[in-house]
């Protein structure tokens, strides 16, 4: 008899989703965290969503995850980004009250009957016959379970850097989880180092607000969760300012004091989210860089300096921050710092996020080399769902690249691995026209329901929405405008559904009408994309038997052969996406698999 069905290590954004998915499906689950006060903490920026990331949040919600609810209840500003640049690439982003967010996350976990919370540090994972069987904690507990989900974020042998100062922390002031990385290395896991950073926090009342541009949110606010009807929350502004020649001079003169340039940090940082010193060094011609000043919450004066992450010494931080308009008198409450941590090579995972090395061990979140709350939560959810599938003896739920950003995220990780912290971008998705954030429920709720996580209530809501969409489309087909149906009239780029003045549409909600409009406007393009999707599916459906012996096909180059053996792709489609594999090798593999099938 095991103590628990599942143990989730870590209470961050991945751990929250994993533990909720497992316990809501009825499995007795234990969440172990180093600090119960830090559950769902937003270590870096106080916002959720954004381009591609906003789609992830809505997909998490559609499958039955929690992130959408958490941000809907705690947002203090909301915007739809890229309204002008095309519906397929629009996405919601919200500023969060990070303290309420974290507290609500803990409350939500505490409400679950099958979920226990325990504060301790896991120092080893117990395995029996190559299967995960429990954990050992720092205070000496041995707790057994049938599955383990590992979501350690930046805490596994984390170390923070501020100029010459460094300390073993996962976040400033919170000690790292020492030892687990070493134990995993002993078990054969490929452990690497990655680096990320966060900017300073300054005090609102010390800022010269008049010297900065004001950035307001959208009104009304739109919810992330498909279950939230409407939002009535306070909306706080953000501010925009810019660095200048003086800022850049200060940074340049002190660059040698950066642990990054001094060689103390070995981990790879994200290219897309560089520190300010990186930006100054790499783009010497840029006269200024944009800085967003964002509120961290309602009950706090702390403001986040988005765009100013740094690992320079604190005295240098003070000088360069004070060279920026609006921040000349800023009181710096927390310094910027870099954090370096252990991550586990995601190539050692199956598409279900189960480890290839230890059966029953699922790994999710920043531990897999990603960055971002949304990426972490998405993996945590899938790891939780698939750990539950394993406990039930069901097939893993693997989303494809053609149906979800989550599918793109996980396929990229387990097929290509990652050299730098992985962030979701719309350009990573080949079929983004089909991955609009407003259609996440249509794409995924039935799958979440089939897996046992999404509730009947969610399905009912989806059915009602689909009926609404069909109803509105029927109205449009029956009304005539300028000699053609309103439906066809909507295909004109400049025609809006809200300008048609059709009374019968009055009973439909704005969100349904907007979705109908996009469906109609984009129907031609969607059909084109459908064809591409069909092609991709064909290759994804060409399964490679799990026991396929790559050594029997001598036409495959030795480099590609090693890669195939390392990744063990489940289909020709996945094999094709492995980086650096020669196309002719895929062709040879395809023919070999096919002729083997036909015997």
């Amino acid at each position: 008899m095991r103590d628990y069905d599942a143990i989730v290590i870590g209470g961050g954004h991945a751990g929250i989703e994993a533990s909720l998915a497992l316990s809501r499906e009825g499995f007795d689950t234990l969440l172990i965290t180093q600090s119960l006060d830090a559950i769902g903490r937003m270590s870096c920026n106080p916002s959720i969503g954004g381009l591609a990331k906003g789609n992830l949040v809505r997909e998490i919600d559609a499958l039955g995850g929690e992130m959408g609810h958490l941000i809907d209840s705690t947002m203090i500003q909301m915007r739809i980004l890229n309204r002008r640049r095309g519906p397929a690439v629009q996405a919601p982003r919200a500023q969060a009250d990070k303290f309420s967010y974290s507290r609500l996350a803990k409350e939500t976990l505490e409400k679950e009957r099958h979920l226990s919370l325990f504060m301790d540090t896991v120092v080893d994972i117990i395995t029996e016959d190559g299967r995960a069987a429990g954990v050992v904690t720092e205070r000496g507990w041995r707790i057994s379970s049938r599955t383990v989900v590992l979501t350690t974020g930046t805490f596994m042998d984390g170390r923070i850097f501020i100029g010459e100062y460094d300390a073993p922390c996962g976040r400033l002031g919170e000690s790292a989880a020492a030892g687990l990385g070493g134990k995993l290395r002993e078990k054969g896991f490929r452990v690497g180092r990655m680096k990320t950073g966060t900017p300073a926090r300054v005090r609102l009342s010390s800022l010269d607000l008049g010297e900065m541009e004001v950035q307001e949110g959208d009104d009304p606010m739109e919810p992330f969760s498909f279950g939230t009807e409407a939002l009535d929350r306070p909306s706080l502004p953000c501010y925009v300012t810019y660095t200048n020649a003086e800022t850049h001079r200060i940074i340049r003169e002190n660059i040698s004091r950066s642990p990054l340039y001094g060689g103390k940090i070995v981990g790879r940082g994200p290219r897309y989210c560089p520190s300010i010193e990186d930006k100054v060094v790499r783009f010497p011609d840029r006269e200024r860089h944009q800085i967003f000043v964002e509120p961290e919450g309602l009950g706090t004066e702390e403001m986040y300096l988005n765009g100013l992450s740094s690992s320079l010494p604190e005295d240098v931080q003070h000088s360069f921050i004070h060279s920026i308009p609006g921040l000349r008198h800023a009181e710096i409450m927390r310094p910027a710092y870099a954090v370096e941590y252990d991550y586990l090579n995601p190539l050692d995972l199956m598409p279900s996020l189960e480890s290839k090395l230890v059966a029953g061990l699922f790994i999710a979140g920043q531990t897999n080399g990603t960055s971002g709350y949304e990426e972490a939560a998405a993996q945590g959810l899938m790891a939780g769902i698939n750990a539950a599938q394993l406990l039930k003896g069901g097939r893993p739920l693997v989303l494809s690249r053609t149906e979800a950003y989550i599918g793109v995220l996980i396929d990229d990780l387990v097929t290509k691995g990652t050299e730098e912290p992985y962030r979701m971008f719309t350009s990573r998705a080949e079929y983004r026209l089909s991955l609009r954030h407003d259609t996440a429920d249509q794409r995924l709720t039935p799958k979440g329901f089939a897996a046992g996580l999404a509730t009947e209530e969610r399905m009912e809501r989806l059915r009602a929405k689909m009926a609404g969409i069909e109803g509105a489309k029927a109205v449009l087909r029956s009304c005539r405008i300028d000699g053609k149906s309103a439906y066809d009239a909507l295909k004109e780029p400049e025609t809006s559904i809200f300008m048609l003045g059709i009374e019968a549409l009055g009973s439909y909600s704005r969100s349904i009408l907007r979705e109908v409009e996009l469906d109609i406007k984009y129907s031609g393009y969607l059909m084109r994309q459908e064809r591409e999707i069909e092609k991709a599916k064909k290759l994804d459906n060409m399964e490679i038997p799990a026991d396929f012996d790559y050594d029997t096909v001598d036409g495959i180059s030795s480099e590609s052969r090693e890669k195939f053996k390392a990744v063990r792709p489940i289909s020709i489609g996945q094999a094709r996406r492995i980086s650096g594999v020669r196309v002719s090798d895929i062709a040879v593999l395809g023919v070999a698999v096919r002729s083997r099938e036909r015997g």
Binding site: L51, Q290, G555, R576, A587, A592, S595, R598
Partner: protein, 436 residues
């Protein structure tokens, strides 16, 4: 179901099955060399790889069949990358037949079409565009077409497609940045690079257009000699072929159906047709002949229309028609392209005119790489069409423009073989008889 497999010993005649000075028979498969050894007078083994060994091929009883050179390839070398050899023998048909039959006795079977190329491919010896080019080299009929196929092996299409792909990728990347970051982070708007895109479209279409002219060189131009009954068509036909392969008679309607022959006119392979005379006729057989002539004329790359100067015949006026005047010896008419198949007068001018009309339709600017596969033409046209759509959508959302740019990229990727769609594999291997 019969499938290609690798390893099984196969052989094939690599040169045409016709009498010639030399013929080459090649074989490939596991233990190919030791299978041949008992039938070869000199000692051979894989250790002689890359060498030509002189000797006699003899049947099992020691009777010499022919004096030959055998070129030995050990595993990993040679065309298929399997153990292999090539026998250069004398090109007489009985010799070729005898060697074939002894190879059968030795345990080889005759290869199916494309099987050698298939093996080379499966052993990683070539990429898709190369495999395709090899197919075409085998099929190529003249030296000009052969050099087109060879130049693609060297990768001129590949390099050109790569360059265009880079350009499209640059454009797409500049657009994707706008989609990956919010308008507050990158406030500048993106401008559609009209000029650059038009340049690429023009280039793609120019390369695609070389397909029809390339085809003239690899498959041969279809040239039809037409005209009224008794206008002198067959005389011209014979003069062109310089041999009597059609019946020439003064009785109307002798050539009831068409007669076909292969010729090479100014380096261009030509399938030359002599046709039934066009006239009103009650005769059902002859009507059928005329109907066939007309359908042949529809397909022709060039129609050489022969006019008897003593008749009132007015030749059809369309582009593919070259009008020539016959019987210059009888009624000395000082018209251009007037000739006599009796005296040979004016014939050289007629041949020049045919050649220049054919090469006009076969010519393409010399800096444009030639293609000669339908698949490549399709991919180039797909890419051009997608870019055209992108241009037309330049006022639509960035997401739509990106969709078209991506699809142009993937067409170019499929062209170079960098992206391999299932359909590409299907099509390639259907020409290798896979799965039949």
């Amino acid at each position: 179901m019969a499938h290609y497999a690798t390893g099984e010993p196969i052989y094939a005649l690599a040169t045409p099955y016709s009498p010639s000075a030399l013929a080459v028979i090649r074989a490939s498969g596991d233990e190919a060399i030791s299978l041949l050894a008992p039938y070869f007078s000199s000692p051979i083994s894989p250790s002689l790889s890359g060498r030509a060994v002189h000797g006699y091929v003899h049947d099992g009883s020691g009777r010499r069949i022919d004096e030959v050179m055998a070129i030995i390839y050990s595993k990993g070398h040679g065309y298929t990358s399997e153990e292999a050899f090539e026998i250069m023998c004398h090109g007489s048909l009985p010799v070729i037949r005898a060697i074939s039959s002894l190879l059968e006795d030795a345990g080889f079977r005759e290869a199916e079409r494309g099987e050698f190329t298939y093996r080379a491919f499966m052993h990683g010896r070539m990429d898709l565009t190369e495999a395709e080019a090899v197919e075409e080299i085998v099929k190529a009929r003249t030296s000009r077409a052969g050099s087109d196929a060879l130049s693609r092996l060297a990768g001129s299409i590949y390099r050109e497609a790569e360059r265009m792909k880079e350009s499209v990728l640059d454009i797409l990347a500049s657009l994707e940045v706008q989609l990956d970051y919010g308008e507050d982070e990158i406030p500048e708007d993106w401008v559609f690079p009209e000029e650059e895109v038009s340049r690429i479209i023009g280039r793609l279409r120019a390369i695609a257009a070389t397909f029809s002219s390339s085809r003239l060189y690899s498959e041969g131009a279809l040239v039809v000699i037409a005209g009224r009954t008794n206008a002198g068509k067959s005389s011209l036909y014979n003069a062109l072929l310089k041999e009597n392969r059609a019946i020439v008679s003064s009785e109307e309607g002798t050539t009831r159906d068409y007669i076909e022959a292969d010729a090479v006119i100014a380096g261009i392979p030509v399938r030359l047709f002599d046709t039934a005379g066009l006239r009103e006729s009650e005769d059902a057989v002859e009507q059928e002949g005329i109907r066939r002539t007309e359908s042949l004329m529809d397909k022709a790359d060039l129609i050489v229309y022969v006019v008897d100067p003593s008749s009132d015949d007015a030749p059809p006026q369309y582009e593919r028609v070259l009008c020539v005047i016959s019987k210059r010896d009888v009624s000395a008419l000082d018209a251009p392209l007037s000739f006599s198949s009796v005296t040979g007068e004016g014939l050289a001018d007629v041949i020049d005119a045919i050649a220049s009309r054919l090469s006009a339709s076969a010519s393409a600017p010399s800096d444009v790489p030639r293609i000669d596969s339908e698949r490549q033409k399709e991919k180039l046209e797909e890419a051009a069409a997608a870019l055209e759509e992108a241009r037309l959508s330049s006022s639509a959302g960035y997401d739509i423009i990106a969709l078209y740019l991506q699809s142009a990229l993937s067409s170019l990727g499929e062209l170079t073989g960098e992206i391999t769609g299932e359909d590409v594999l299907d099509r390639l291997f259907s020409s290798f008889c896979l799965g039949k």
